[in-house]
């Protein structure tokens, strides 16, 4: 069997998800036995001008240049994988959308702000067709392997559409609510093995919200535990602000 040609690409992101690939250790060599990585700017100088069987794309779309580039990548790729929170749900870059874009540009660049174009942050699927989603900030490596295999097999991968609590309970963590702390586990898509709660932190919702959350019930729970709802909504926007964007969302200019 010919190894499929795989390219890694990045847009606005921290490149931490790509780094997760290097963290596989020697297992990476097994993965490289199954795929032929032909472009991966962060660790390779090789470039590829043919088509890609699989494009793994990290980062969100934040300007016109990026829109053009992602469209070019899409055209050249049989399968496109949105890789990491920035790509799948907009991630932390989405926090920008809570501000007036001109205002935030002025804040950061001062009087020269006009040189620096930016648009509302978008997740990849809000710009191009996406075949697979690997959620998480950063991605959970076992899930990446799962998705990669599904892509190679040509079968769909369904991102779990149930709460992080499922895994969290199986891991026998003491529930954050028991400790009196707000946690996004109940409304966040599982698949990370409740990574953050296992380490004593709360779930921040980096994998996106389940498709049918009980918002009213969630608010009641917060009220019950005396947690200010405003505080929580602000926190949920740390990763999930782009949810509010309608497909092909508004540009500021």
């Amino acid at each position: 069997m010919k190894r499929p040609k795989v390219g890694f690409f990045d847009f606005a992101c921290c490149e931490g998800c790509q780094l997760q690939v290097a963290n596989f250790g020697e297992e990476l060599l097994d993965i490289l036995g199954a795929i032929d990585v032909v472009e991966f700017r962060e660790v390779m100088s090789e470039k590829w001008d043919g088509d890609f069987d699989v494009a793994i794309v990290e980062g969100s779309i934040t300007d016109k240049h990026a829109v053009e580039r992602i469209n070019r990548i899409r055209e050249r790729s049989k399968v496109l994988i949105a890789y990491g929170s920035c790509a799948t749900i907009g991630g932390v870059n989405g926090m920008k959308n809570a501000f007036d874009l001109t205002d935030i540009r002025k804040y950061v660049y001062g009087s020269d702000y006009k040189f620096f174009h930016t648009e509302m942050t978008k997740a990849l699927h809000q710009v191009v067709k996406v075949d697979y989603f690997v959620n998480g900030c950063p991605v959970y490596p076992p899930e990446l392997v799962k998705v990669l295999k599904a892509a190679l097999q040509g079968i769909p991968y369904y991102v779990p559409d149930y709460a992080v609590c499922v895994d969290c309970r199986l891991n026998e963590n003491v529930c954050m609510y028991e400790k009196g702390v707000a946690c996004f586990g109940p409304v966040t898509r599982a698949g990370c093995n409740s990574w953050c709660v296992n380490n004593g932190n709360i779930c921040y919702g980096c994998r996106g919200i389940v498709s049918n959350p009980n918002e009213k019930g969630m608010k009641e729970v917060l009220t019950k535990y005396n947690i200010p709802i405003e505080f929580v909504l602000n926190k949920v926007n740390m990763y999930n602000k782009c949810r509010e964007l309608v497909e092909g969302g508004e540009d500021d200019e």
């Binding site: 097999q153 040509g154 079968i155 769909p156 369904y158």
Partner: protein, 278 residues
Amino acid sequence: MEKVVIKDSNYRIRKAKILRTKQLTKMEKLFEIALDGGESLDQEPGQFVMVSLFGVGEAPISVCSSPTNRGSFELCVRAAGKVTGAMHRLEAGDEIGIRGPYGKGFPIRILEGNDLLMVAGGLGIAPLRSLIKYAFDNRRDFGKIHIMLGCKSSEDLLFEDELNQWFKRMDVHYECTVDRAASDWAGHVGQITTLLPGVHLETERTFAIVVGPPVMYKFVLRELLKKNIPENQIILSFERHMKCGMGKCGRCQIQNLYCCQDGPVFNYADIKNMSEAL
């Protein structure tokens, strides 16, 4: 952790080979399958098997051929999920795994000697076809046979060449309707319920067998009851999500019933008060 191979596992797989495939429509493909070593599937009409595509998973698929057809069996597969989607890429000669048959099929011994009104909507024709074929192969065991078929559009019709033959048969009353017709469609247009009022039935000796999507049942049942077909002479077959086929995994449960063991074929009288069933 120790690991041993167990002989009597419920999850043992029988090897099978695809003998022939036929693309019926864009979404549906027919597979003729033979178990390894000439084993017989020994299914009843209306039963289903778990089909294994290793590395992809298992899916419950009802057998659409009649047990009177020995040596091989047929599955009509709609590409709707992971396994069924991948199955569409398989061709003659490919190997698959089979578990089963599972479930309760159509109650042949009870149907014998009676008239049959068989109503199928969409993919519902697949399980019903096993009974139709069985009844044709044992034609003298049954009274009148009515077949009413409904489909979204004429392009979606399954087993078209067979339908034409049924149409030509003198000992079968066959009608077909489509919701949307292509320009070359000369038949009925409209919901399946529009066919029923015109059928003449001897209600006391007629069994209605209905297989179709969930939305269809409500309307068809209303028509059948209007025609005074006794509740215990209405037979339905349900589709549910199944994983084990053995009444354990809980997926297919309809209140206290397990679709995989107590069904998929049910008597309307038994389930008419179960709100999860219909």
